[in-house]
């Protein structure tokens, strides 16, 4: 028994209807796949971006805001912590590493982040793909996607909270808030991390403080060797000061910072530090706590979308099946002729079912591709907007979802096939 010649003939006869059915099923599948895969990609990528931020300490306020500003570099005005806390933490036995994070300035739309060279190299984990890490005030190391070249002078501008910038572009706001006469020299580039930090320019925290007239937190400032930003004799570039950079900050006056990232030595230490710095004018938390809350919200949204897309899929499937039942009814005569020519009932049933199952399978496959394409497109948009690289991959969940849809569709497709099975031949021949 070879039903394929008849199946292909039926599909050819359906033509536009068949295409419409495939498109409808594909749409239902694509929506479901895109939602599921995108949500998982966001979850994975955002968690990966927070990998090196074990414990965050900031001034009391919104934890979410601190996470968004520190890890995802979404600009916002944050309250400032006492800078002396950096030294205290550096001496704490429970702390393996500590680094300040200061932001607010921009250059060509890229965030300028003040921190330590150690944290710029994520505490030994990252080796620059080009050049080296900054070693003096006035030097900068570039994120992988920053469109400056090594040796370029980077002119910082004061960022405006809430003002969205476009990476690589100088807008009016940036041009109007330039820190005149100051500039960093790009000395290195970091490898790609797939996080918003790929679009950041990392500079010594001391430089950020000094740009804002806060000193550099070191004794060199009091010794009269304060400022890295003096113009060179040629008037181009800037002369890095010879002052030491990084922890500890031994100056009498250590400027404040919006955030401190801590790498605890142990889990117990992490919890103890969190408990200690949750009071007394500071706020300490694990970014994972905030992410879990965000994921829960994201999960709720996803669940709503999944329910909506499932209903959508069911409605589309029902419409498709009704359409196919109608088509099969219109073709009763054709099937009756096959029976009159000696086709067994099973043959006719197989022709009808196989035709429908093929359409649903084609819709599922096309839907998978469209869903993947949609998810990739959205990932591209998210990356363009935030710098967060979303690693999209079709998972077992999507495959299962599609398989379920195909199975249900195929089983329901038996209905018109069974109707034809029971239909008297002579009735079909007379119609």
């Amino acid at each position: 028994m070879n039903p394929f010649p008849m199946v292909l003939a039926d599909l050819r006869a359906l033509r536009w209807t068949a295409l419409a059915i495939v498109a409808l099923v594909a749409l239902a599948v694509a929506i479901g796949v895109a939602i599921g895969a995108q949500e998982r990609a966001i979850r994975r990528s955002s968690a990966a971006a927070a990998d090196d931020f074990d414990l965050l300490i900031g001034a009391p306020g919104s934890q979410t805001q601190l996470v968004m500003s520190t890890i995802y570099l979404q600009p916002d005005a944050l309250p400032i912590l006492d800078g002396h806390l950096l030294n205290t933490l550096a001496k704490d036995e429970r702390v393996a590493q500590v680094a300040p994070i200061a932001f607010g300035d921009i250059s060509r739309g890229y965030a300028i982040v003040g921190t330590t060279a150690a944290f710029a190299g994520r505490w030994g984990k990252l080796q620059p793909s080009e050049g080296r890490l900054f070693a003096a005030e006035g030097e900068a190391v570039l994120g992988a996607d920053v469109a400056y070249k090594l040796g370029d002078t980077i002119a910082p501008s004061h960022g405006v909270a809430g003002h969205a910038t476009r990476p690589g572009e100088v807008d009016e706001e940036e041009a109007g808030h330039r820190h005149e006469g100051l500039g960093y020299t790009a000395v290195g580039r970091l490898p790609r991390m797939g996080s918003p930090w790929d679009r950041a320019i990392l500079v010594p925290i001391e430089s950020v403080w000094e740009v804002h007239g806060l000193g550099n937190g070191h004794a060199s400032e009091e010794a009269g060797n304060p400022f890295w930003g003096k113009r060179s004799e040629t008037g181009e570039g800037h002369t890095p000061a010879e002052a030491r950079i990084g922890l500890p900050f031994e100056g009498q006056r250590v400027p404040g910072v919006p955030a401190i990232v801590v790498k605890p030595r142990s889990v117990a230490g992490a919890y103890a530090l969190r408990a200690q710095y949750r009071q007394g004018g500071t706020m300490a938390f694990f970014p994972a706590e905030v992410l879990v809350t965000l994921y829960r919200a994201l999960g709720d949204v996803r669940n709503i979308l999944v329910v909506a897309s499932t209903l959508n899929a069911v409605l589309i499937l029902a419409a498709v099946i009704l359409l196919l039942v109608a088509v099969a009814s219109l073709r009763q005569r054709r099937y009756a002729v096959l029976r009159a020519l000696g086709a067994p009932r099973a043959y006719v049933m197989l022709v009808i079912w196989l035709g429908m199952a093929l359409l649903i399978a084609a819709g599922c496959l096309l839907g998978l591709s469209l869903g993947a394409l949609a998810a990739r497109t959205v990932s591209g948009l998210v990356e363009a907007q935030t710098g967060l690289r979303l690693t999209f991959a079709l998972g077992a969940q999507e495959m299962l979802q599609v398989l379920l849809l195909f199975t249900i569709g195929s089983v329901i497709s038996l209905l018109p096939a069974l109707l034809s099975y029971r239909s008297p031949i002579v009735t079909g021949l007379r119609d």
């Binding site: 070879n2 010649p5 008849m6 002729v337 020519l341 000696g342 067994p344 021949l429």
Partner: protein, 244 residues
């Protein structure tokens, strides 16, 4: 009017290929009342005979063909082929018997318009086998040549009505049937094509020594038959027979 018996065919009881005995077919009308469509006490048709069925519309000619083909079961009585009762066979066995024994030619051809000539001719073979093989293709080509069809790759939808009926006849012959049933095979054709198809049908049936039963109003076609059986009005279901 009382239904009359149909005389036996020339083959006599011993050589009869098809035998209907006490066959009655009742339908229910729109008012729910049953009415008799066919009442055939006895009918025998010998192997290789060419039989015409004549009668007014609604007289039961098509029903008789359906009954012989096992598409409907008689309300009573039996249809036998080569001494074996086929009207009571299970559905699957009846399908198999029909596929192996019968070639059907319809008034409206009922080709599959999306398939080409070759695929239409070989279609019945796909009911039972995955592939028809080289021999099947050769047979299809030979049948097409015999029917005067030059291009096997043409879609059925682009053929003339005469060509379509020739393809339908080739399809009916593909499985080498012993019995060809034709329901108004010339009714949809103009006079020239009708003549051509009538000649072809009777010729090829003779060539393969198949029994041919044609239900038709076409006098020219019926004139080619060895016997013509008159099927009466549905109310009386009187049946008579005369030699053509």
């Amino acid at each position: 009017m009382r239904p009359s018996a149909l005389p036996e065919g020339p083959g006599g009881p011993g050589g009869r290929a098809l035998h209907l005995s006490g066959v009655r077919l009742d339908h229910r009308g729109g008012d729910g009342q049953p009415f008799r469509v066919l009442d055939i006490p006895e009918l025998s048709i010998a192997a290789g005979e060419h039989i015409g069925l004549r009668g007014p519309s609604g007289s039961g000619k098509t029903s008789l063909l359906h009954l012989i083909a096992g598409l409907i079961a008689p309300s009573s009585g039996s249809v036998s082929w080569d001494g074996r009762i086929v009207s009571t066979l299970p559905v699957a066995a009846r399908d198999r018997w029909r596929r192996v024994t019968i070639g059907f030619v319809f008034q409206d051809f009922h080709l599959i318009p999306e398939l080409d000539v070759a695929a239409n001719i070989t279609l019945p073979a796909t009911f039972a086998a995955w592939s028809i093989g080289a021999a099947g293709h050769e047979r299809a080509a030979a049948l097409a040549r015999r029917m005067g069809l030059a291009d096997l790759r043409r879609r059925a939808s682009v053929l003339s009505r005469g060509e379509q009926q020739r393809v339908a006849i080739a399809r009916a012959l593909f499985n080498r049937p012993a019995l060809i049933l034709a329901d108004e095979p010339t009714a949809s054709l103009d006079a020239a094509h009708a003549q051509e198809v009538a000649a072809l049908l009777t010729e090829v049936a003779s060539e393969v020594d198949a029994t041919l039963i044609c239900a038709s109003h076409d006098a020219a076609l019926l004139a080619r038959m060895g016997r013509v059986i008159e099927i009466g009005a549905p109310a009386g279901t009187a049946s008579t027979e005369r030699a053509a």
